[in-house]
Symmetry: C2
Subunit: 332 residues, 2 copies
DNA sequence: ATGAAAGCGCTAACAT
DNA sequence: ATGTTAGCGCTTTCAT
């Protein structure tokens, strides 16, 4: 492997000049730049990442913690990951993947200077990683919103607003009894940030609008979806409108609603909270609120890289939910 | 951040002694080791990854290229990724994630000494990354089997044997006309390694056993599955046995088979090629051949790390497929 | 069993 | 506009 010294020699300049040509941190004359670039190309030179990190305290790597827990839809998770990787590459950064949900991993990559910045996904209300993140010297961004985000930057869809939006939409359509068919029990049990927030917004607006709004967890299996729908109709037989926040169960919930005579091939009295691609892939036209995973992942990178030069105050960014009507009978 | 020098000072030894305590590359007296370990703990010392990489030419990072292409089931992909990350951490390595399907990314991380080794997923028969990989100085393992693997190590399920196994199983059960409902057209069009191999094995055994075996691509949507089943029955109306190699379409294929009277709630004349978890999540009991993604990912790590010390000959490892019968009517 | 010292390849003052 | 030089923090000979 050629070193910067080899390039310098070949171009008839000093190593620092090569370094500056690469970084653009000082002006270089046209001819010199040409010769250096030529030498780099001729030798196929690539700076040694470790040497660079040692000298500059910059790795150009972002750590991404993606816990793969029970009940999460990996295809949705991967949308966030894709957004992170794509945006990171656009900013000349690579991504180190952490999947184990341990605080040790965070400390290892941070204290070991393996990464310049850290993005954490699948945040819980009372996440044990939060205090650890506060102690790191690298900038950090959470995708999600813990109970106490003090001192930490966060970005996410405004899931609470999404809950309100869905409840409001169903109420507007004239429903007096509605139900949230939510994530799997495991997701609820650990108080996953987004799940809690959806329920909060949903319940608040249901109360405010004077509609009865039950909440039912839902396993991702066909059978789980059937049980959830049946449980709702057992508890609140007058339920006419549904809000589904569960990508994997969604088709089966729709199927069961059809079986119970609450939906038809023409449409269902349902608002879904899921990636648009999931909504449009259903057998019936479906009104939905998008979860823009790629966008959020990209914003997370922007935020965390902004924190790289110059301390900046923690900031929470919640993207406004957008409801798109897609025909379907949403009136009772 | 404390350095190795700080630790040495605190323990009253030289930096090299600290280094040797950490690496275990030479014997250290009991008391010295104790003092050093104490100092490390007291100071919360972590070696600087870049400095270490510079001095030792080892990064303890594995590059993992996971192209997220159209038609692949991300949840299956993530099983492989999980296997890689888990096994890598077990061997004290981290994973750098590359999702863009460019050869440039490989060269960047390899030539820049960001990684010790590289694992590549979603290999095509005539993959443009293959020649690039041959030129890298890092050991490489492909998950999948390109047309010409000369000089490269590969690991995968033996998909060709899986194709043979499925065809043989259906033939044994008495089917005379059978059909492979395969991956989406996009996957087939780019000659994804596993897809081609399944078809090869399937067709070979169908011929050998004298059964008619058609092959039909299948979109992942409910409608796509319906069309695929209908197309099969149009081309070969006497078809009684099916081999489904498409996780996402699987439930819809089963549904359509039931609609067409070829399957019942008790079972279907189907062999599925998919992760066992996918097979058992279906509404009917389903005979299947497992795709052990986590295992394969783990083996890939073992192989690639084995290549780290001492050149070793390229090796191709194909895991034997295992068919598990789960009731269901597989007889015609 | 331990220490001293020479790099590893790069960046960023500090020169001129 | 360019060159010189002193590290960055670690590993690993070479000594003893």
């Amino acid at each position: 492997m050629p070193t910067i010294e080899d390039v310098a020699k070949a171009a008839g300049v000093s190593a620092s000049t090569v370094s500056y040509v690469l970084s653009g941190k000082r002006s270089i004359s046209g001819p010199t730049r040409k010769r250096v670039e030529q030498a780099i190309a001729d030798l196929g030179y690539r700076p040694h990442a470790g040497a660079r990190a040692l000298a500059s305290s910059r790795t150009n790597v972002i750590g991404l913690m993606v816990p793969l827990r029970a009940g999460v839809d990996v295809s949705v998770v991967m949308q966030f990951v894709t957004g992170v990787v794509t945006r990171a590459r656009g900013a000349d950064h690579d991504v180190l993947l952490l999947t184990q949900d341990d605080t040790g991993g965070l400390e290892r990559v941070a204290a070991g200077s393996m990464v310049d910045a850290i993005i954490v996904m699948d945040v819980e209300a009372d996440d044990p990683r939060v205090p650890v993140l506060r102690g790191l010297r690298q900038p950090t961004v959470l995708i999600g919103l813990p109970h106490d985000p003090a001192g930490l930057s966060c970005v996410d869809l405004d899931f609470e607003a999404a809950g309100r939006l869905a409840a409001g939409h169903l109420a507007d359509a004239g429903h007096r009894e509605v139900a949230l068919v939510g994530p799997p029990p495991a997701v609820l049990a650990r108080h996953t940030s987004y799940a809690d927030r959806v329920i909060r917004g949903w319940s608040a607006t249901c109360s405010a609008r004077g509609v009865a709004g039950v909440v039912e967890a839902c396993e991702t299996t066909p059978d789980g979806a059937r049980r959830a729908v049946d449980a709702v109709l057992e508890r609140a037989p007058g339920t006419t409108g549904f809000f589904v926040h569960n990508e994997q169960a969604l088709p089966h919930v729709l199927g069961r609603l059809a079986e119970r005579g609450l939906a038809s091939a023409a449409g269902a009295p349902v608002v879904a909270l899921c990636p648009t691609a999931v909504a449009t892939a259903q057998a019936v036209p479906l009104t939905s609120i998008d979860i823009p995973g790629e966008v959020i992942g990209g914003v997370a990178v922007d935020m965390v890289l902004a924190g790289l030069d110059g301390e900046r105050p923690a900031e929470t960014r919640l993207l406004a939910p957008v409801l798109v009507e897609r025909g379907g009978a949403t009136t009772p």
